[in-house]
């Protein structure tokens, strides 16, 4: 076997060796699991509105409830089984964001509660918050410029 020298060669080698993921099946699973999670969210939202909450309040309750459910399922080690099956179906909804915080929080418990749990919990969620919040500040500043 000839040695791998360039990045391109390595990339081709990895493509050849890694199993072909059945993309259609993955997309189908992502579709119905993701759709189902959003539907659960919609039912919670409808229920909140039925109880007289406004739009903003209702969607905050939806986020908090879905995050709590994912935290419980992550703690019971069920979420990662759903994640393996559904791929993006459970990653892209807010459940994936919750799982990305809860999972390392549990995993790094042995490194202590401050630097282990407190620090490692943001391994994935940190970048999401950095880019999300920075984008919102930039958009806010642009909105100020447009207002004048």
């Amino acid at each position: 076997m000839k040695p791998i020298e360039t990045k391109q060669e390595y990339s081709d080698y990895v493509d050849k060796k890694s199993p072909n993921s059945p993309i259609l099946k993955n997309c189908f699973n992502a579709f119905w699991v993701g759709g189902l999670i959003c539907t659960i969210g919609q039912l919670i939202m409808d229920f909140c509105k039925y109880k007289g909450m406004d739009e903003t309040g209702a969607s905050t309750v939806v986020s908090i409830t879905l995050i709590a459910i994912s935290a419980i399922l992550t703690g019971l080690n069920i979420f990662n089984k759903i994640g393996k099956f559904a791929g993006a179906g459970s990653l892209i909804p807010i459940t994936g964001f919750a799982n990305s915080i809860v999972s390392p929080a549990i995993e790094y418990k042995s490194e202590g509660y401050v630097m282990g749990v407190g620090g490692k919990m943001f391994t994935v969620a940190g970048p999401v918050l950095v880019f999300g919040i920075s984008a919102s500040v930039i958009i806010g500043i642009i909105a100020v410029l447009f207002a004048h």
Partner: protein
């Protein structure tokens, strides 16, 4: 129960389909690119914030409800919406306050439940 009768089943269907399609986009990114899940989440939040900032995303929310707000695109759009609304009431100061304020419930819940879960749950032993 009155609530069951009040459910808009057409809205539920739209929510299911739109939420599902957004997840398919994520799945294609996972399967067809070498992006890590962290990068995909960052792309979704940032794209959502841009779409929200341009005022486009609210049409999808009007159409699909939770189908548009539950995926991380909606989290991004909500950050942008919060920033713009706060700017309208309190000027430049609002650009720094509005985004996080609008998403505070979700962020605080994720941090709190994450900490709580770490107190209760045991780390799983990895079987290779």
């Amino acid at each position: 129960m009155d609530f069951i009768q009040s459910i808009d089943w057409m809205g539920i269907l739209k929510c299911f389909v739109v939420g599902g399609i957004i997840c398919i986009i994520g799945q294609i990114l996972i399967d067809k690119t070498k992006l890590t899940p962290a990068r995909i989440l960052v792309i979704f939040v940032t794209t959502g914030a841009v779409l929200g900032g341009l005022g486009v995303y609210k049409y999808l929310i009007d159409f699909a409800g939770a189908g548009a707000t539950v995926p991380l695109l909606g989290f991004g759009a909500n950050l942008a919406k919060g920033a713009i609304q706060e700017v309208q009431t309190s000027g430049l100061f609002g650009a720094f306050v509005g985004g996080v304020k609008a998403s505070a419930g979700g962020i605080a819940a994720a941090v709190f439940f994450g900490y709580l879960a770490s107190l209760i749950a045991k780390p799983k032993i990895k079987k290779q």
